[in-house]
Amino acid sequence: MVSDVQHAGRPSRAPGSDGALAAVTARARELIPAPGVIDDHAKLRTYECDGLAHYRVTPALVVIPEDAEQLAGVVRACAEHGVPFVARGSGTGLSGGALPHADGVLVVTSRMRAIREVRPEDQRAVVEPGVINLDVTRAATPHGYYYAPDPSSQQVCSIGGNVAENSGGAHCLKYGFTTNHVLGADLVTPQGELVQIGSAAPDAPGYDLLGAVVGSEGTLGVVTSATVRLVRLPEEVRTVLVGFESTDAAGAAVSAIIAAGILPAAIEMMDALAIEAAEAAVHCNYPAGAGAVLVIELDGAAVEVAEEYAEVERLCREAGSFEQRLATDPVDRALIWKGRKSAFAAVGRISPDYIVQDGVIPRTALPEVLKAIADLSGTSGVRVANVFHAGDGNLHPLVLFDESVEGAAEAAEEVSGAILDLCIEHGGSITGEHGVGMDKAKYMPKMYGADDLDTMQLVRCAFDPDGISNPGKIFPTPRLCGEVPGRRKGVHPLQEAGLAEAF
């Protein structure tokens, strides 16, 4: 699966010459102490991929700034010399969003790791981009607070990466995504200016630039500080593991819960193959013989949660559950979550290689789409384990293959792509949380029309007219920003018709 993508990621115009790179390198050495500027080829290769390891590109230069001023200085030099740059947090992304540019600079934020402020009285924390997601919660918990977005990689992924990808997590069903929890940021624009967008207080006046920047995958600049919302820890948390004969029965239970007006913090589903993998890896002791399990978590005020739990228990029973296990203390809850959280890695126990897919469907289309995935698997002979955030229809099919078998990787890629087609057909999305990055840019024209993509790129042109900030990601075809949108080249039909002559 490892493929060389040297062709990818080039900007729309010729990148800077060797002289340009040399100039940026020289400037970086002036700004940043020696270990933070890397141009040795062997060391550069350490950074050749992010969490999606089958795309590899060695960057021309790696810089690891210590603060926003250093970072802005490097970006300013890049802008001056027309050198592309790519920002990288912990490098755990799964769409190649932080894949380096062969002729460009990789800006690594791992030394910007200060949690500058934790202010429970304001329900805010101010953190640098290299701060690990879980560390924000660790810093806030002594005050009775936590940081809600919890991607599965939260022990290693960075806030900067979360902001770039608008990361979600199991609990975003109730609490939302990164974009709902970041209120302000310091942004280094692709020109190297340091600007404040959003604010610690809600509703900063002017355009919601922050709303555009979060989830823009590093194409609109680099965030050097984020002001995030802290959420009060709930009084009560109940996690229940429910076994069903089939995914259809589990899906029916999810529908019944939503229809009853209950919004759990999380509803996760795993199918039989995913359960088998988790059992092999972490011995999570999920219900034997289950065709599907649900992990449902309820949180909030204690009496409210107790009332909701009683209803969830009944609805699952009515949908045909054959076993339910309730956990209320943190240790038991962690045991239930262990199987779910280890699911991706666990698949390694039952298959030498696998692709983690990420697509979204309207939740009610779940039975239909799961059947279609089973059909795809049946006709192709490619096994697919299903793990998903069932509450919001975010599927993570794990497409299994053995690279040593000729043609197997290609067959798996085909099935993986067909699953995205299914998502689009059902009115869903090609990515719910992993991002478009390098990996899915080619699918964007299937989900959006040319005018839609053109309009999105107006934002790109406003922030980064020269296309040097993470070029080649998200959009398969860059827009030429020099064109003034909407200006007509020929004679307008109304003019021809004599209607516009008065002007």
Binding site: P202, L209, G428
Partner: protein
């Protein structure tokens, strides 16, 4: 204006059946309107926008016309694009908790449709009769912003028509979606200066089984502050925490809960003990709930601050004689000043105290003389980037020119 009207009228009429000359009551914050076009579909809006582009006409969109005096008056309003006939709820997928509606749909109509399935869009109708598109353009939000946020947290898909007539969509029909830029967020609060919103998709929430309001009188800003802090740092999960303080007389702090009967009763009990013995419980929302404190002709301000700034902000509003109502639980309150002459000095003081607490003070609505006398929007960081966004979407500056920050 008359030559413009004659020729443009013909051109617009070929794009859209319902075109008429502007009347005095169409004026946008005192600025007369040349023509009013009432397109019935996104395609017709696109045709209207193409004609406006060809004729270089300025365009001001209007939903239900309930907030046309917000922001600054536009430099001109050649064409008013009236979206009131685009008033249909296009799709309510109850099982997926989403709704799609045209921009001119009254919020109340949308709520009636989704309410039949026990669902709601958690955007308060802060001005009676407001439309979906108007609520987005103005980023209007009420007490329930404490529960699930504002329009930016609920909008999942949008259709807009650009200044050049191009129709574009962003987002989609699913809540979880990170494919492409989130254009919807840029449109929210942009007062029609980037594009004309024609359709919107939202995520919905269940209507709670029961709702209760717990209110207590507060004698001074310190007391309001202490109680608000106690509520937000408690674990009762309030749906709203509002302060209501007339210019004369004591203030009231109200906590709202929604949920299951036993759960709500328990949370209300906890709230009563937090707020003190004289707290009262009601099954109905208090007077003035989800409305602004100003009357017609008064100056309305939006004050934002981090939560620890509540006491200081309230103290200054008391000093300057402003009536206050808003979300003490999120740091967004609205203030009303009745005497125009008081506004400049009061605004300076309020702007200063809000800035000290990392927020801002913006004049939402005011008589023309006040808007002329003060800086309506106040200082806005990253204004240069905002101008660049405007230049890309509307290079000729024809959309609601001048209504927004920095003359945008």
């Amino acid at each position: 204006m008359s030559t413009l009207t004659g020729t443009a009228h013909d051109a617009l009429s070929s794009a859209c059946e319902d075109v008429r000359e502007g009347r005095p009551d169409d004026a946008v914050d005192g600025v007369p309107v040349g023509l009013v076009a009432r397109p019935g579909t996104t395609e017709q809006v696109a045709e209207v926008m193409k004609v406006a582009a060809a004729h270089r006409l300025s365009v001001v969109p209007r939903g239900r016309g309930t907030k046309m005096t917000w922001g600054l008056p536009p430099a001109s309003a050649d064409v008013l694009v009236d979206l009131s006939t685009m008033d249909r709820v296009l799709d309510h997928a109850a099982g997926d908790l989403i709704v799609e509606a045209q921009a001119g749909t009254p919020l109340a109509d949308l709520q009636a449709v989704v309410g039949q399935a026990g669902q709601r869009l958690v955007i308060d109708e802060t001005v009676p009769g407001a439309s979906v598109g108007g609520a987005l353009a103005s980023n209007a939000a009420g007490p329930q912003r404490m529960l699930v946020g504002t329009a930016r947290d609920l909008l999942i898909g949008i259709t807009v028509v650009r200044a050049d007539g191009v129709v574009a969509k962003a987002g989609g029909r699913v809540v979880k979606n990170v494919a492409g830029y989130d254009l919807g967020k840029l449109m929210i609060g942009s007062l029609g200066t980037l594009a004309v919103v024609t359709e919107a998709l939202f995520r919905l929430h269940p209507v709670p089984e029961v709702r209760r309001w717990v209110s207590v009188r507060v004698a001074d800003p310190q007391r309001a502050h202490d109680l608000a802090q106690a509520v937000v740092h408690g674990q009762t999960v309030p749906g709203a925490l509002e302060v209501d303080w007339p210019a004369d007389g004591p203030g009231t702090l109200t906590v709202q809960y929604g949920g299951k009967p036993d759960g709500v009763e328990d949370r209300v009990g906890t709230a009563r003990s937090l707020l003190g013995g004289d707290a009262s419980v009601s099954e109905d929302e208090p007077d003035g709930w989800s409305s602004y404190p100003w009357r017609a002709g008064e100056t309305g301000l939006k004050l934002t601050f981090v939560l620890s700034g509540l006491r200081d902000v309230l103290a200054v509003t008391r000093d300057v004689g402003a009536a206050v109502r808003g979300s003490a639980g999120t740091g967004v309150v609205y203030a009303a000043l009745d005497r125009p002459d008081d506004v400049p000095a009061a605004l300076d003081r309020l702007r200063s105290v809000c800035a000290r607490h990392q927020g801002s003070a913006v004049v939402v609505d005011a008589p023309a003389e006040v808007k002329r006398a003060v800086d309506v929007w106040g200082p806005v960081p990253a204004l240069d980037l905002m101008r660049r966004v405007k230049d890309q979407f509307d290079p000729e500056h024809r959309l609601a020119p001048g209504r927004f920050v920095g003359g945008i």
